[in-house]
């Protein structure tokens, strides 16, 4: 059976070129880069090249730091907990932290945990366009007691891109630090740290055709962090643990390729995404969440009235198409998707969201096939559905 992967916001295929640059660091150049001997030092030029690729990819300044870690979840936890620990250790009044209701669990769960330790966390809602409103941020900031703001750059479920430049300006004006979860931005839209003056951003290689289990934490010059993982002196003492050289080097290459493909992403991936979206919105009783021009070029979150999301995925999977849902029927919480609520999408649609996410490997033929499968799925599952007022196609 054909297999079509439209779940690239979950993870991506590793680029063959990335795999190739990683290969020598398993069995030949396997030294520990912190060793003084030649086995260690021979890896250094490759690490430097990878760092150059990463710095160039996000337009970081040479004075800034990019800590290589295990993933974006680690990066997010590091920033959030570091700022909280700092307030505690310095007995500071800055116990307020601000985030949004549409964060990935790697941010929201870290904040939920800090709340248990005494942090005051404000969760900003989204507006009718599905974005975190800069004015709401301005209002929530009390510069005397606020330490950190964490907001998702591009949302993983909807693909909606937040106005991060405005957040950066507001945070600067108020002397508050800004942390952006850039996981779904890197490789999909330009990420330029010269233009967006955030203090911290996080990313994960596997979202842009790099390997899983390696990520980056960008720290703008003038900021410091308290390590999440204490131990050896790796990463300038900011992140202990023997450096994963093949993955480090692979991520550098993946970043270089991602950035050089941004134009392709914006043109070709967007064209195929739009083709798929046009076909989806032609089906009756379907809503796509968020305006196209406000989204990353690869993502569609669509709601098909009368079809529960997991059942939809089941039928797609039976026909070889992989997608995902935000609210699986088995998820423990019944809370409605905050984006749906804010955008005034009926609660009867809360369990009907399906996310399709493309990549530079997605082909036109695959999209044509997926469209057929989606049509058949809608037809079959709506014929089973008890929901009234929905038409098949």
């Amino acid at each position: 059976m054909k297999r079509i992967y439209l779940d690239n916001n979950a993870t991506t295929q590793v680029d063959e070129q990335v795999k190739a640059v990683m290969d020598p660091f398993f069995c030949e150049k396997y030294g520990n880069p912190n060793s003084l001997h030649r086995f260690g030092t021979e890896v250094h030029p490759y690490m430097r090249e990878a760092l150059d690729q990463l710095y160039a990819g996000i337009h970081a300044d040479d004075e800034d730091d990019i800590i290589i870690n295990s993933c974006a979840s680690e990066g997010n936890n590091t920033v959030i907990k570091s700022e909280y620990y700092r307030s505690i250790l310095s007995n500071s009044k800055k116990i307020r932290m601000i985030t949004s209701t549409i964060e990935h669990p790697a941010v929201s769960e870290a904040y939920r945990f800090l709340e248990k330790l005494g942090a005051e966390v404000i969760y900003l809602p989204v507006n009718s366009e599905g974005l975190v409103d800069p004015e709401a941020l301005r209002e929530a900031i009390d510069p005397d007691i606020t330490s950190l703001v964490s907001i998702i750059w591009a949302n993983n479920e909807t693909g909606l891109i937040n106005p991060v430049k405005e957040y950066a300006e507001i945070c600067r004006e108020n002397g508050v630090k800004l942390h952006l979860d850039a996981v779904q931005a890197v490789g999909k839209i330009p990420v330029n740290m010269k233009q967006i003056e955030a203090d911290f951003i996080t990313f994960s290689a596997h979202k842009f055709h790099g390997p899983k289990g390696v990520g980056g934490l960008y720290i703008r010059k003038g900021n410091s962090i308290i390590p999440l993982i204490h131990g050896g002196e790796q990463m300038a003492g900011l992140r202990a643990g023997t450096i994963n050289t093949p993955y480090f080097i692979g991520m550098g290459k993946a970043m270089e390729l991602a950035v050089s493909n941004l134009e392709f992403e914006d043109r070709e991936v967007r064209r195929l995404r739009d083709k798929l979206e046009d076909a989806i919105v032609k089906i009756k009783d379907v809503e796509v969440i968020g305006k196209r021009e406000l989204r990353t070029p690869n993502t569609i979150l669509a709601s098909f009235r009368g079809i529960e999301g997991e059942a939809f995925l089941w039928d797609l999977n039976q026909n070889g198409v992989a997608a995902s849902t935000g609210s699986a029927c088995s998820s423990e919480s019944l809370e409605s998707n905050p984006t749906f609520v804010a955008m005034d999408i009926g609660s009867d649609l809360a369990h009907t969201g399906i996310r399709f996410s493309l990549s530079r490997y997605t082909t036109e033929e695959e999209i044509d096939y997926a469209i057929k499968v989606i049509h058949n799925t809608v037809k079959r599952l709506r014929s089973i559905s008890s929901t009234k007022n929905k038409e098949y196609i």
Partner: protein, 321 residues
């Protein structure tokens, strides 16, 4: 389960073949109409349960023979995940040929069992158990529509955990009998809360009328009250007449002491009781195997003495005759 949990994403892998088959080829999906009913001289019953906003909704259609109360045909429509659709399909099939009263006794556990490939391998993973609950709720709804009565008529007991079908009275009983102190213990003893977890505390997958955390707190409070009451009752031991005191002592000996001694083929009897300077002296005599047993003057004696002191009153002293 540990390794499966560590790998994650195994939800669908844990479905039985039957669940997959029913989801892919539901056999009883569809609608029944007044025309269908007229053709069979039957009454059409339509019942809705659940809502799209909760993630699960089902509509059940029955053709009921008015003379026998038998369900001649059943179909359904469902908004839900694969398990919900598969459960509804089996449920509709199970209704056919039963009387309305018989059908109303089908539970979600029956539905889940019918979906198993082998008798001791669950058809769905724990977090999916609640998807079969709707299938049985809708039967009760249909029965109440047919009989024109309230749905609660078909619920003999207050069910706290729908997935495992555990009632309020069962949960209270195990808490009291086993002196349970945590929700985890309740789950270990009864399986309540082991599946979709909605009944553990507010904020889960579904809103419930009762939550285990509240039941535990209330029952523990009740137990504490009972304990204080018995303590209060004990305080007045000294005010009882000698005959009343004798009754209390006999009660405790019968309940706590004799069963132990009987195990070894022995027993004990109270020969006399005396009140002396704020003390109550109980004279006892061993019977059967206890007579002449070495422990009877030491260990066993201590057990009897302590039991009476704790369960009746501290003022009691015991003497062997």
């Amino acid at each position: 389960m540990a390794k499966t949990d560590l790998i994650g994403g195994s939800l669908w892998e844990q479905y039985s073949e039957k669940v997959t088959e029913r989801m892919n080829h539901p056999a009883f999906m569809g609608e029944l109409t007044e025309e269908d009913a007229a053709a069979k001289g039957a009454e059409l019953v339509i019942a809705d349960y659940g809502a799209d906003s909760c993630g699960d909704a089902v509509r059940l259609y029955w053709l009921v023979d008015p003379k026998t109360g038998k369900i001649l045909d059943a179909k359904y429509k469902s908004f839900g995940c694969g398990t919900a659709i598969a459960s509804s399909d089996v449920m509709a099939e199970m209704c056919i040929g039963k009387t309305v009263d018989e059908a109303a006794r089908i539970t979600n556990l029956d539905v889940e069992k019918a979906l198993r490939d082998s008798p001791d391998q669950p058809a769905v993973p724990p977090q999916k158990m609640h998807c079969s609950v709707l299938a049985y709720d809708v039967i009760k709804k249909a029965a109440s529509v047919y009989k024109n009565v309230d749905m609660s008529v078909f619920e003999d007991e207050e069910i706290v955990c729908e997935c495992a079908q555990v009632s309020l009275s069962t949960i209270k009983e195990v808490i009291k009998l086993n002196d349970l102190k945590t929700v985890e213990e309740i789950t270990q003893y009864t399986k309540a809360g082991a599946f979709c977890k909605s009944c553990i505390r507010p904020g889960g997958h579904e809103n419930r009328k009762f939550y285990l955390v509240d039941i535990l707190a209330d029952t523990r409070a009740e137990m504490e009250k009972e304990r204080l009451n018995t303590a209060a009752a004990k305080k007045s031991f000294l005010e009882l007449t000698l005959i009343q005191k004798h009754k209390e002592v006999e009660k405790v000996i019968e309940q706590y002491v004799r069963p132990i001694l009987n195990n070894d083929g022995g027993s004990v009897e109270v020969m006399d009781m005396k009140e002396e300077g704020g003390k109550t002296i109980v004279y006892i005599r061993y019977l059967g195997a206890c007579m002449g047993c070495a422990a009877s003057t030491t260990g066993t004696f201590e057990v009897i003495r302590n039991t009476l002191k704790q369960k009746v009153d501290d003022s009691i002293e015991v003497q062997l005759v």
